[in-house]
Symmetry: C4
Subunit: 206 residues, 4 copies
């Protein structure tokens, strides 16, 4: 019966294996974010400095962890929301998604960079550009897949096109703001993403 | 036939992708726990100190590894048990689960902290608070999802509400005890979780 | 239609989520094994020692990586073979599997230990005991699940019980041999597992 | 109803669990590639050297990250394309796939090696040989599975055999070229893989 259902091979790449890879990579990249929080040296106890002071000084790093995790979750939801309208994949769509994953896997590095050099404009520029590029690629993914109903279901219409992409658009603007702030007030650039919570929560976009 | 089954997109976020992310993150976070056990320096053999003495001194770290792994497994089971009654998800439920995962991914860090500074009250407080917060969030998840049968199946009733949550309640109390012990006798706080085995085993709650 | 299929919640823990966790943990633990191979210091090139000599000296570590990967693959197959006969799970079976995973996640640590201290009896004893315990637990898992057809399909019979467990039995004996060799000739203990290839290949047990 | 569908156990190993392990291992190995990019020391800021100069000097490492990620993605697609024609698995096919995964998990190590010792012939030889072996094993996997229609669907024919394997063949040649270049001009060997983009893109092979 199992065999009768699949009498022949499927000629096309299927969406669900791309999604399995995507889910796996997101799960790992999100879990690796924690490695960007420094662990105190074991010699700390010998030097007499109390641990709670050390951890208090690390509040920035905990914020960056939470922020990066939140950003990754938003991307995961954006990707998932888009994929619900997609019926099939093609050559360009496949590689576009691999490109997205390449930048997603870079986030733990960017996050470590900004966690160690929070006051440096370059570290902030690097992190926020990484985030901006992912947001941009998801936006391109949406445009590409929905144009002429290329990869989407038949009942896809213009209103879905507009509303379905608001999450990406807001993200693009917020991360562009974060890039600009990186060059002016690097230490505060990361707080831009708090705007996401306000925007998304208001209309329950995600 | 594949296509005829899915003539159109699904308008709502589905539970099973959240569960795929959850399973992935739990699997990784549980595997990363092992990194909190220190590896002896390769120079150890030169210094003449035998390896078996080194490992014997690390018994605490092995206990913390086993305990953290056990705690994570309990959370995974609690989450899984809850999800069996859930029919659908919504905006708040989704974000609540992402918040849970954010604290789950922090456990390898907390575990390393308590593994390196087992006698320190702050390290123990940090670890046990992390655990307490996850237990609390799972408890909120249960209340939120079952209230007015918001996200659960129709045949869900009050008796399930009461019995289905005992696992979380016990966990909340035990981790609250562990927090208090962290402030009084930090080195022994971690042993509170042995109570879980007794409670859970007695009535086969999990 | 999706909903009509699931009119109510499933009262019991299902096997496939345990398997999802198992597959995830095996995939990660197997991938982490590579971390036990030392990377040469970047200063190596400055010191004039050529890289190919360094890598040649590491042949042992590459063998241990390949051996550990092979052992993990064998366990994954044993677990998978057992699960094909299982229809359901219960309280004890669930926790037995979590215990198995706890020792599976310890393998990257044990592997690093034996990779760094290959000549030490303790490192070899640790690694081989870790392997032995997993083999033993899988053996117990088989006995427990099949006794009185507790968790297996109705058409399960005695001949399957005998043949289905040969893989575990051979593994138990080979890892017991490796433990003994760890105490006598530690450097050679790891080669015991080459016997597995001979035994398994002969009758295509796995 | 769930039970009536599966009245008895499946006597054979199923393809989809091998694929689940494969997807998991690829996802993790691809995410771990990022660890081969060096993080600047936190003392960098004290030494006065600006971060942007440090990152600029690391351009090579970013290229190697992107290249390795791309290579892994190509392998993942090759493996996936092959598996679409496969109906079942057998003893040899299973172990061949585990051997493939063993070399896939080695890529983060090879990638770190070439990332740290980009000018060294040995580091490049190691990385490119690793890649070549995976390409070769996928090629063997294809020959083995399709010969006498051993593991494939009935409607598999000679034209699929030829076209379905072009991706592997091109990869084999390109990585062989990279091996030769490793011995002559090690620093440039990695650029061979840019040829893949040209070849694959032209006929949309992957």
């Amino acid at each position: 019966m199992e065999i009768s259902k699949k009498p022949s091979f499927k000629p096309e790449m299927t969406l669900n294996r791309i999604q399995a890879l995507t889910d796996g990579i997101f799960a790992i990249a999100m879990t690796l974010l924690v490695l960007s929080i420094d662990l105190p040296d074991k010699d700390l106890s010998l030097s007499g400095a109390p641990l709670h002071k050390y951890l208090l000084n690390q509040l920035d790093q905990f914020y960056i962890y939470a922020m990066s995790f939140f950003i990754m979750a938003v991307f995961w939801i954006i990707g998932h929301k888009q994929s619900r309208y997609f019926k099939r994949t093609d050559y360009r769509h496949l590689w576009l998604n691999i490109l997205i994953l390449m930048f997603v896997c870079l986030v733990p590095y960017s996050s470590s960079l900004v966690s160690d050099f929070g006051d440096d404009w370059m570290a902030n520029l690097f992190f926020n550009s990484n985030v901006f590029i992912i947001a941009l690629l998801y936006w391109i993914n949406w445009i590409y897949g929905t144009k002429h109903k290329r990869l989407v279901y038949k009942n896809f219409d213009d209103s879905i096109f507009k509303t379905g992409n608001i999450g990406s658009k807001i993200f693009l603007m917020v991360s562009a703001l974060a890039i600009i702030l990186s060059l002016i007030v690097p230490s505060y650039a990361g707080y831009s993403y708090l705007l996401l919570i306000i925007f998304y929560n208001q209309k329950r976009i995600l």
